[in-house]
């Protein structure tokens, strides 16, 4: 095996080692994850401040495994914030991946000894958009007991004071805006979504159909930076994403792409170079 081939084979392993070291290393002071523009984070805080006390919030939990790591710290912070504000959460998923991740988060909340009366698992409703339409109708088939279950069983989503959508590639806030808001008008819709959904969500944010959106890691970090949930910090991500790790990952990616472009440029120049005297003589 040539040295070059060996280096290529070892490169992914070395990259993982480098990222692991960067992740464990202390963060450098001049690195910052949070956006300097706190408009979106402030908008989310204002939307939460506007909720009535002890409000019922329906959480549409449909992230996907591929992008959940990007939004997970913000999702956990938002759930902790809602619980800190004495809100009751009814969690529902309409995609299988969303349901799997919802179960994992519900299990985490229970392990953190959340007040069980303030969490209602509405489970998985198959059918994606059709399921969202079904949720808007009165008489939801809820098996659980309690005041929270009673309100939603009688009035459907109209019994809630707000909707929080945790979006993913399969189903995001757009489907809720299109299918739910026209049928249950007046409900504020707050959302956390991966950056990939941002282009399709910005118009809804501009029109006010989405009241607040944390759609980039920077906006999420800005929101988390202002958060104070006191004893409920056990529901937050144990550790903020490593700024050094993120920076090293980005620099490696930029370096690899630039190296490939430079190599390609060098080969093109060589191909365009006319044959010299030595070649002619040969």
């Amino acid at each position: 095996m040539s040295d070059r081939l060996l280096a290529i084979r070892l490169a992914p392993l070395l990259l993982l080692l480098l990222l692991a070291v960067a992740w464990l290393a202390p963060s450098v002071g001049w690195l910052r994850l949070a956006s300097s523009n706190t408009t979106e984070a402030d908008r989310m805080t204002q939307a939460l401040d506007a909720l009535p006390p002890r409000s019922t919030v329906v959480v549409g939990f449909d992230p996907d495994l591929g992008t959940y790591a990007e939004i997970r710290p913000t999702v956990r912070a938002l759930l902790a914030d809602l619980l800190y504000r004495q809100a009751s959460l009814a969690i529902v998923s309409v995609t299988p991946e969303g349901r799997a991740l919802a179960l994992a988060e519900l299990d985490r909340l229970q392990r953190g000894t959340v007040n069980a009366r303030r969490i209602l698992d509405l489970g998985f409703v198959p059918g994606a958009e059709a399921a969202l339409v079904r949720l808007t109708r009165a008489g939801l088939p809820i098996e659980a007991d309690g005041a929270l279950a009673g309100v939603l069983a009688t009035d459907g989503l109209a019994g809630a004071q707000a909707i929080v959508v945790v979006g993913g590639n399969d189903l995001g806030p757009r489907a809720w805006v299109e299918q739910v808001l026209p049928r249950v008008p007046g409900l504020p819709l707050l959302a956390v979504a991966p950056t990939i959904l941002l282009p399709e969500l910005r118009p809804y944010l501009a029109t006010g159909q989405v009241d607040a959106l944390l759609g980039t890691p920077r906006d999420g970090a800005a929101y988390r930076a202002t958060l104070d949930v006191e004893r409920l910090d056990r529901f937050l991500e144990p550790r903020e994403p490593s700024r050094t790790g993120v920076a090293v990952g980005l620099v490696v990616a930029i370096g690899v792409l630039l190296a490939a472009l430079v190599r390609r440029g060098g080969r093109s120049d060589a191909a365009r170079t006319p044959p010299g005297p030595r070649t002619e003589a040969a």
Partner: protein
């Protein structure tokens, strides 16, 4: 016959939901509810059928010794483990601790790891495409480098400038192209729907 039945179903269900959306009428609402429930049942049935088809396909692969035997065994073992954990006597279904353990300790970390590996595989794919002198790959790589630079988590004045530039890039060029694509897809969807409703097929052109 098949050609007439499917458009008819689409037209009737679609119009019913549309009229229910526009007209407040209890009977109409009930009827629309039945259609929505039917759609949910069909969707659930389709999901179950897809899972069953996957299991049959993988079992067939093993039986006939074709394809990837290790993958087939893993798929079938995974399905069996979740079914056993959730449906065994005394289990509490999807919220059973054994199912939650499979989700928390296996599915979520494995899924996240696989998607994390996209970082490496995407970079390698870019390298190969650039080496193959693909112009599209070069344009994509240049755009990726520009966006990655804008996303560097730097603080201070430089960070504020990068932050503003990243927000502009997302809102204007990327957002514009993305929304243009979405509009195109929506127009295409409307045209296909209109053709279906009017019963126009490829043979009519």
């Amino acid at each position: 016959m098949r050609r007439a039945t499917i458009p008819a179903l689409v037209v009737v269900a679609g119009l019913l939901l549309l009229v229910d959306y526009l007209v407040v009428n209890a009977s109409l609402g009930e009827l629309a509810g039945i259609v929505v429930d039917a759609a949910i049942l069909v969707s659930a049935g389709a999901a179950l059928a897809a899972v069953a088809a996957l299991a049959v396909r993988r079992a067939g692969d093993l039986w006939r010794r074709r394809g990837d035997p290790v993958g087939a065994v893993l798929v079938l073992a995974g399905m069996a483990a979740v079914l056993l954990a959730g449906l065994r006597p005394g289990a509490s279904g999807a919220s059973d601790p054994a199912v939650l353990w499979i989700l928390n300790a296996l599915l979520v970390p494995l899924g996240a790891s696989l998607f994390g590996l996209l970082f490496v595989s995407t970079l390698l794919a870019f390298q190969r495409s650039i080496s193959a002198r693909s112009r599209e790959a070069i344009v994509m790589a240049l755009a990726a480098v520009a966006i990655l630079v804008l996303l560097l988590p730097v603080g201070g004045t430089a960070g504020g400038w990068l932050d503003g530039a990243a927000a502009w890039a997302l809102a204007v060029p990327i957002g514009g192209v993305f929304r243009g694509l979405l509009l195109g897809i929506a127009i295409l969807g409307a045209v296909v729907a209109a053709r279906t409703m009017l019963g126009i097929g490829a043979g009519d052109e």
